[in-house]
Symmetry: C2
């Protein structure tokens, strides 16, 4: 991909001297920083801005590694063929008018794909803003060139942005505010050929990039995306647009891309250690926090010391720390003693540390540095959340000294800054250069503290991908069914197949007479359940075909007879042991259009209706990934035993999830598996009802 | 309170010519805007800054309505006595060194309270920053005076801030950024006498105030606070510090104030239509949104049209609208047709409206104004969420014309702005002056849209306070028990009392023999429950004194005998009908130190353990307030019936809550009532277990 990022020469196809047009901006932007050859191409000019303009790409001199195309869509395919012929390895198509514009455009885009396939030329775009590289001062884009000169500060965060306009406005907003410097911004548009995976792969190896942030509306090749993220040594942050049903609809109409199931994507991202963001600037804030603190000391766990000048800000910080699953550090006696030296007599030292009285009696510098030094040395403190104010009250400490203390300690510091607008801006920028991320809102700062510790834990937990899932050994009969049937398999058959995969299923049997019902019930012990299985019918309860709590042989007999009548000779009658359990779970497999077979696990019964606590992970899963998946359920409390019920045997549940994943991978015709309920009986989950859909 | 807000003359006790001291800043700040008499008081000077300095407050000429005191704490009581003697009605004590500094300070503060009580003088503070009134350019505060001159723009939001430092830094931050103008900022400090209620009452009648925002760590007189909020015609927004357990601890050590139960406070605030905020600037953002849109058209319900230049921002907006319980407006055909005129042929019009192609072909002005005009005229649209960009791409519409359109329509518009820092700041300020609140983060904008519609609904739902609760008519015996007993009443007695208040309780009876157990069980019908009631013992289950699911007369007999053995002759044995129900609820009454008796209602059973869905409201409740309370439970889905269970009879539950409130108000010795479980049987809730704690 180097020809996109470090081309030796660039042909600008559609260059023009009309300063209102994109083809002019591209040229000017290149002239403003690009050191390689710049070759305007346009048959209508012989010279633009003092440079030779070539009638066609054929005439452009060597070396030329990249063409940037900005001409009406209809002319693009022919021009790309010419580029391929000329031996140019990469083309950035910044023109719009393709898949985003309906049928004709979709056809044009298909042509582009076809050309890429035939010729091997790589196409970036179309309908994109191209690339901006702040480190090298490369602007391969038509973004307005007027604002660059004073503001072009290079940072170490690179962005991949699917939405064209966003990448541009984002960049301008972030860079002109001066508090959010970026390295490369890649606007990938319609992704006809080059996609987020290609670029992500490049960026995780890019020495100028410390963190990659992505705004995506679709991840068509979810598996490759996961694979790249899994091996990334750099933090990756993603804002996925279209996670809600309405948002997904909007995404669909925006880039005709399938937004996918938000919960599946979240699950897949967690599996590979990717941080999820919700909003645009929040994403950038998380990125810059991770860029500063990609690695934390192994034993640190998120215990925060809050050092503030305002009791109120300290209290609200504590509320946020609590809400976000962080912890207020329990300051050691040594720390308290050290801080005591700057506090007035009457003031007890606690966390949050309210420095105001110490500032009043000792000045800001001494008060702050004493507190920061003590917190840095405290083994109970993993991070310092510092509040500062500029613009009055003699409250601002010397941030250079503060930064020196934290740098030596290796602990992350996060700074919440308020103050007089102009001074605050200056201190904001200066403090960030010292390696301390600065925030103007308390909650955002707390979110970013969490992000840094969550990333640490996610990376520690991240497992290598399952190289090859264990083979599923089931009988030829079942193999044939899974290979040929269509639609929903009945409950009994579904459980037979699951049972063959070592998934514990309830004891049950198809019976054909009242006598058999009675004998079987006696064998199982009461209570038992009886169900009528109509072919292709999954809503048994709604049809009155489920009889729970049969406690006598007489009920067994009358139950059989009633079902037999109700089914009018069709289907089968099933009897099963009634599992008496505490907790109802659900488990299963879904086939996601972007991520393929994914294992699902959740709370069932009344909890499913009340809160829908369900988590997903891409299959196959290792046992330890499956345990992580279980650990992501919100209602952990119930899993650890409650009301006299023993705790869930997590290993047994993990084993079920592993098997579900293996089954889904081995039999790609499986569209869905639902185990509902999966009842936890004496701690062990047992599949009580299930269906496999082909 | 006018003497605090509009004094004719002010004595500054502790005035000094030392420009590093607060006593000097107060004086300079007054000279900078205050039009009335300014009288420095300090025996060590005869003149400060060209003004006569008086040796004592006695010598100050008339009229003088206010004294601002900034001297060491120990001298304050005597000086206040002098003020009282001099007939000054109000004193603002800005010095620290009182309750926030431990025992001695607490005693000093008590002395202040005593003086206020004895003399009738009103005391504001101590340990506060006083008052800033941007409309009148009054600064009754020692906040640094250097920054005011250019930035002093008056707004219509007034703030009450408990934390001293915060009020100052807040003000400076907000005002110097120029995007958040305020009217009055009141720093109330330790609240020895004047408290948030006094000031809130003043501000809801203040013509310069449209919205009141409060940062509070405690609301000691919760009932008065609620009463004022309930009759306020202006929106009130509160950020309550110390809602989490850790935050509450921090609040306690900050101002020695009891932070209280976050859920109780939230419940009380919802009852009286107060909006809750989470963070400081978020609170200001919500305040300014409500200041612009305090009233909406009666039929508007939160249907939002998103008009954007970026598909990506539109998609993420849709996600937020979904997540926050708003709705994407379904644009009418007329609207679509109107917008179609500026869209390219291939582009379908949908909501979010992605204007970029229309801007490309028609220019920003025409594209935006066409879309805004159509949305304004659309009866399906309640609010417009406009995205604009400044600083390139010729994307910015003429906001004056846009504002004119929305002003005519009366619909609220919210603007998400990105762009080149300097231009964006200018457009931000200018657009807000046009009556359109501007946001720099998408989520914040969405939160504020929600706040505006939530406030509308809250005010519509707000009920007048229950003037006098219905009397509770229970027998003399019960009256006496509630008036004299202490500790926990046993289950049976508790339910007898609740039953006497028309709360449905399970059929049950104290029995004294196995025969009586059998007879009663036969009378109730099986299954039945038997329980051993030890005096003062609430954890019956843990002691094995609960026998559920007794289904035969033999089990009844053996159950009685087993309990008799276990209880060793002490306590009583209770038999009760076993209620077969779907949903388990809990209900009760707590006595909150700030809000007094509060009714509680929540989900019980496994849901209580899993998610703790519990809501509170201050008692007494009207039937309709009780219905609102039930409507605030998160798991509404379950209340509407599920899995074949009929929906909850909400009126019956509301009736129980009303009765609980009446009981709590009538018998103030009741510390707590717990009904757990309150089982919903055939839709109707029945108290199955309960305890009253005195």
């Amino acid at each position: 991909m180097d020809f996109f990022f470090k081309p030796r020469g660039i042909a600008i196809i559609g260059a023009t001297s009309n300063s209102l047009k994109g083809g002019y901006s591209i040229l000017r932007n290149l002239m403003n920083g690009f050191k390689g050859g710049i070759y305007p191409v346009n048959p209508r000019y012989t010279e633009i801005e003092g440079m030779t303009c070539y009638p066609s790409v054929q005439k452009v001199p060597d070396p030329v590694d990249l063409a940037i195309v900005f001409v009406p869509a209809a002319r693009v395919p022919q021009l790309i063929r010419e580029c391929a012929k000329r031996g140019i390895p990469g083309v950035m198509i910044e023109s719009g008018g393709f898949a985003e514009t309906g049928e004709q455009g979709i056809a044009l885009q298909e042509t582009l794909k076809q050309i890429a396939k035939e010729t091997g030329i790589r196409l970036w775009g179309p309908n994109c803003m191209g690339l901006v590289d702040a480190v090298h001062r490369y602007i391969f884009s038509f973004v307005s060139q007027s604002i660059w000169d004073e503001r072009f500060v290079a940072g170490d965060i690179s962005l991949i942005v699917q939405s064209g306009m966003l990448s541009g406005v984002f960049l301008i907003d972030a860079m002109t505010h001066g508090t959010m410097d970026v390295s490369k911004v890649c606007s990938i548009g319609n992704k006809a050929d080059v996609d987020e995976c290609d670029i992500l792969e490049y960026l995780i190896g890019d020495p100028d990039t410390k963190v990659v942030g992505l705004y995506l509306e679709s991840i068509p090749d979810g598996r490759r995306f996961m694979e790249i993220c899994r091996r990334s040594q750099k933090p990756i942050v993603i804002l996925k647009g279209g996670k809600s049903p309405k948002g997904a609809e909007a995404a669909m109409s925006h880039t005709a891309s399938l937004a996918g199931n938000g919960a599946v994507i979240s699950g897949a991202m967690k599996q590979v250690g990717v941080t999820e963001a919700d909003d645009f600037k929040q994403m950038l804030d998380i990125c810059r926090s991770l860029a500063m603190f990609p690695k934390l000391s192994p034993q640190s766990s998120g215990r925060v010391a809050v050092i503030t000048y305002s009791g109120g800000a300290g209290i609200v910080s504590s509320d946020f720390i609590d809400a976000l699953g962080l912890e207020l550090a329990d300051l050691s006696q040594t720390t308290r003693d050290a801080m005591k030296t700057v506090f007035p007599e009457w003031m007890p030292v606690s966390n949050p540390v309210d420095l105001w009285p110490a500032v009043e009696s000792n000045g800001a510098d001494k008060a702050y540095i004493t507190a920061v030094r003590a917190a840095c040395a405290d083994p109970n403190v993993d991070a310092i959340f510092l509040h500062i104010f500029v613009g009055g009250f003699s409250l601002t400490p010397d941030m250079e000294s503060v930064a020196e203390e934290v740098r030596t300690s290796g602990k992350p510091m996060f700074c919440f800054l308020m103050g007089n607008a102009e001074e605050a801006r200056e201190v904001h920028i200066r403090t960030q250069r010292l390696g301390i991320p600065v925030f103007r809102e308390l909650y955002r700062a707390a979110e970013c503290i969490r992000a840094v510790f969550s990333y640490k834990k996610a990376i520690e937990r991240r497992k290598p991908a399952v190289a090859s899932p264990s083979p599923v050994s089931i009988s030829d009969k079942f193999c044939k069914i899974l290979g040929t049937e269509k639609g929903s398999l009945d409950e009994h058959l579904s459980k037979q197949i699951l049972g063959a995969c070592d998934i514990p299923v309830v004891e049950e049997k198809i019976i054909s007479s009242a006598e058999e019902a009675q004998m079987t019930a006696l064998g199982y012990g009461f209570p038992v359940v009886m169900k009528g299985l109509s072919p292709g019918e999954v809503h048994k309860s709604d049809l009155g075909l489920v009889r729970l709590g049969i406690t006598t042989v007489n009920e067994a007999k009358s139950g059989f007879e009633a079902l037999e009548r109700a089914m009018e000779g069709k289907g089968n009658i099933l009897i099963q042991r009634q599992i008496q359990g505490g907790l109802e779970l659900i488990a299963g497999l879904v086939k996601d259009p972007q991520f393929g077979p994914c294992v699902m696990c959740g709370l069932g019964g009344i909890l499913a209706e009340a809160i829908g606590d369900v988590v997903f992970a891409a299959a196959p899963l290792s046992q330890s990934e499956a345990l992580d998946l279980i650990g992501r359920l919100r209602t952990q409390k119930l899993l650890n035993g409650f009301r006299g019920f023993p705790p869930l045997d997590r290993k047994a549940l993990a084993q079920i999830l592993v098997r579900l994943g293996e089954l889904g991978c081995a039999y790609p015709r499986i569209q869905e598996i639902d185990i509902n309920p999966l009842i936890v009986s004496k701690g062990r989950p047992v599949a009580v009802d299930a269906s496999i859909i082909l």
